[in-house]
């Protein structure tokens, strides 16, 4: 059965203009985290891979570990690693004990680039936001991600009063 919505019903389902504006501004804010764009620039997925390799313990710095972290399959993870290797940011080597395993390590150039991670600037901007506003932002972001945070169980609600 086809259900036709009346104009009034369709309008009821439409988000409020203010929520739409907030969504747009949120998108703008996030886009602003990565000011450098273009085919030769690092894209957010590559930054995510680089961050993982800068942080994960050695045994987990593999193609499979990267795939798990990014929630992608091994094929795309291999291609992401190859792209970072072409940029000189990581070294890929075959594991001595198991030739099926590819181990990934940051190069000096990769570590230098990670020290200029654009998210560091974003975090510095967030640090300037008042704690009570940041608390609201944290809960809003977690809600958007579907984390289902219960305000009453949020330790930061108590911590900030």
């Amino acid at each position: 059965m086809t259900v036709h919505l009346s104009t009034a019903q369709a309008q009821t389902d439409a988000p409020a203009a203010t929520d739409m504006a907030l969504a747009l501004l949120l998108e703008q804010a996030v886009r602003g985290f990565y000011p450098d764009r273009g085919p030769d620039q690092m894209h957010p997925g590559q930054w995510a891979a680089l961050r993982y390799l800068g942080r994960a313990n050695a045994e987990a710095r593999t193609i499979a570990g990267l795939a798990r972290y990014l929630d992608i399959t091994v094929g795309p993870a291999s291609r992401a690693a190859a792209a970072l290797e072409r940029k000189g940011l990581i070294a890929i080597r075959v594991d001595a004990a198991d030739r099926r395993v590819r181990r990934l390590d940051l190069t000096a150039q990769g570590r230098d680039l990670l020290a200029a991670d654009p998210l560091l600037n974003a975090a510095r901007q967030l640090a300037r936001i008042a704690n009570d506003h940041k608390q609201g932002l944290r809960l809003a972001v977690l809600a958007l991600l579907g984390d289902g945070i219960d305000d009453s169980a949020d330790p930061f609600v108590l911590a900030t009063g």
Binding site: A56, A60, D71, L142, A153, L158
Partner: protein, 121 residues
């Protein structure tokens, strides 16, 4: 030191227990987040090592509870792949709730031992 290890995979619990006990610590195991939550309420621990994904109460749920009830308790989150879940997002949430360290699976004995010694120094 009294250490709570919570993971729903028995072989992981066993391996982590072996490493932690080899460093001279007492271990209490929980096979689920719910069991871990009960232990956290009834017992006293110096360190918790929690799997990030467990059925029912996840390691992240437990971390939030710990930060609410025992803010100073060191917590290591062990993170592996979840069912259709983004580990990138989950580990960011663990950072948000101030996990002491995130240990990515797989890890070897020395990596966990080094971490234990850093956290108990």
């Amino acid at each position: 030191m009294r250490v709570l290890i919570a993971d729903d995979t028995p072989s992981v619990r066993e391996a982590v227990r072996y490493i932690v006990e080899s460093d001279g610590h007492d271990v209490v195991e929980a096979g689920s987040g719910t069991q871990a939550l009960a232990l956290l309420s009834s017992d006293r621990f110096d360190l918790a090592i929690l799997d990030i994904w467990m059925p029912g109460r996840s390691g992240l749920d437990l971390l939030k509870h710990i930060r609410h009830e025992q803010p100073g308790l060191p917590v290591i989150i062990m993170s592996g792949g979840g069912p259709g879940a983004s580990l990138e997002q989950a580990t960011a949430i663990a950072d948000l709730y101030q996990a002491s360290h995130i240990l990515y699976k797989p890890f070897d004995d020395e990596e966990l031992l080094a971490l234990l010694r850093t956290l108990t120094r």
